[in-house]
């Protein structure tokens, strides 16, 4: 459901995740279980819904946007399966349930992630097949940059190497950009290219995703520090134990709160700028409100952790 109580735009998306799931009657049972549980507990679908909203603003054919959004959510699902592994974040809980590797073994989680990635690329490939060549190449370059060594994969590598790095605030930021903003930006980029967004719109969207991503990661860092695993639905308190990049651990809770508030002000300004370029962009307000809603209890002053 959206925060306004309207029918969730992610409704069709949740069904599409099940419909396109990379399983079939002859799939190995453990692999099938990982995939099936993954698509049946899809979380808030922020990235897929962002893709759908960008697509709707630019009037991209909805069934095509739905496949892009599904692909984006599969990439995200894969990254969660892998990030939770013992050799990565060693998490126990995800989306309020035991992690896939706890239930189905590490190999099951890894192979499930690969099946999602493979199907995500297939969906993207089928969608891109109908595009003009130039736009298709731009989208391919975006997938390469956002997901590979310079994006999601590289960000996770830096995250794990943080304890061996100089542990600068700059490195904390750089990791958040690679790990978190990359996939948000990809979620907006692919449908924006499909809808022939102007270069000015693309730049503004990129800025918006950067602010949102950094705020989102900052809030996740605060949550890791300030809440229990039960409330968060995933393992918390891990960053301190594992010496991981955590904004609030690094610059202190009050300064982290100030930065997150500032990032949300900047993202609101980007939204306003986009609204002047094309009125439809105001539909992205939904995500700004969701982030502000998540931020409210975490950044409120006077609730400092000991």
């Amino acid at each position: 459901m959206t925060s306004t109580g309207e029918p969730a735009p992610g409704g069709g998306l949740a069904a599409a995740l099940v419909d396109h799931a990379p399983i079939g009657a002859t799939a190995e049972p453990r692999l099938a279980a990982v995939i099936s549980e993954g698509v049946r507990h899809p979380g808030k679908l922020v990235r897929g819904r962002l893709a759908q909203t960008v697509g709707s603003v630019l009037e991209v054919e909805p069934s095509s946007v739905l496949r892009m959004a599904t692909a984006i959510e599969y990439f995200h699902l894969a990254s969660l399966l892998l990030d939770d592994l013992p050799c990565m974040d060693d998490a126990d809980l995800r989306r309020g349930r035991p992690c896939a590797h706890k239930t189905h073994g590490e190999a099951g989680a890894i192979l499930g992630a690969l099946a999602f990635i493979n199907r995500a690329y297939a969906l993207m490939g089928f969608v891109l097949a109908g595009w003009p060549r130039h736009t298709r190449i731009q989208a391919q370059a975006g997938l390469d940059a956002c997901l590979g060594w310079a994006g999601l994969v590289g960000g996770q590598a830096r995250d794990l190497a943080f304890s061996r790095s100089e542990r600068t605030t700059r490195e904390v930021g750089r990791i958040a950009v690679q790990k978190t903003t990359s996939l948000l930006w990809l979620s907006a980029l692919v449908p924006a290219l499909a809808g022939f967004a102007t270069p000015v719109e693309l730049r503004a969207l990129r800025g918006l995703c950067l602010y949102w991503g950094l705020a989102f990661q900052g809030l996740d860092d605060l949550r890791d520090l300030l809440t229990t695993s039960f409330d968060a639905g995933k393992s918390t308190g891990r960053d301190r134990v594992l010496v991981r990049p955590n904004l609030a651990l690094h610059i202190g809770v009050p300064e982290a709160r100030r930065r997150i508030t500032h990032l949300l002000t900047q993202s609101r300004r980007s939204l306003d700028a986009l609204g002047h370029l094309r009125p439809g962009w105001s539909r992205l307000e939904e995500f700004q409100r969701e982030l502000e809603h998540v931020a409210a209890p975490l950044v409120a002053t006077g609730q400092e952790a000991a």
Copy 2:
């Protein structure tokens, strides 16, 4: 080098693996090391060379074929990095050196594999961008089928689940088809589509890859049983310990040898049939000879293991 002593067609391929490697100056050092070591010890490049030969027979533009072949080898490299993990085959040695996870940790090996997969899809995407839409969609479907739950990933899942299965000879064969023949077939399929191979040629190529793949896996199974890790350059003797599908363990060494010999007879017949369709297909003889060369000491009678 080819068995005929000509300059190896894989020469340009080995350089391309380095040129397209998914690393850059700002890559996290451990991730960069996994990638760099992977591309600098590329093995025999069977799959990439197969793609190059099929491309050359059909006169596909060589730089385009080189990118397909590089992508195929990256998929293969990724599968080796992951198959060797403790939760999968728990191997120590690969290509005569310690496995990546032994040197750089499990997370390093997993992230390296993902970086290879991401770059492989990017290379395929760029190559496909220039193709007619219908052919592009056929190639996308091939990537999905050969690499995902019904192909490589699913085969590895079945392989790991073998000890919990009914352990039939049929299951041993099915796993070999999914795990081994899938990637060989993909190596031939993509350049064959690029070169507009006829449906009859595609069917014959598919049969050939099936026989080769099953013979190749059968020989790998024999090698696991009959040779030392030092001679093989990778961990051997694992299938018995880990209760993995191994043709020779399953039906006995003499019967496995007979089957491999029969498969090589069948692949030779497929080659002859292809040669009648288009004389250039005789260039695939090279791979038949390589397989027969590998097979000779392993299937020779009178060298039975105790």
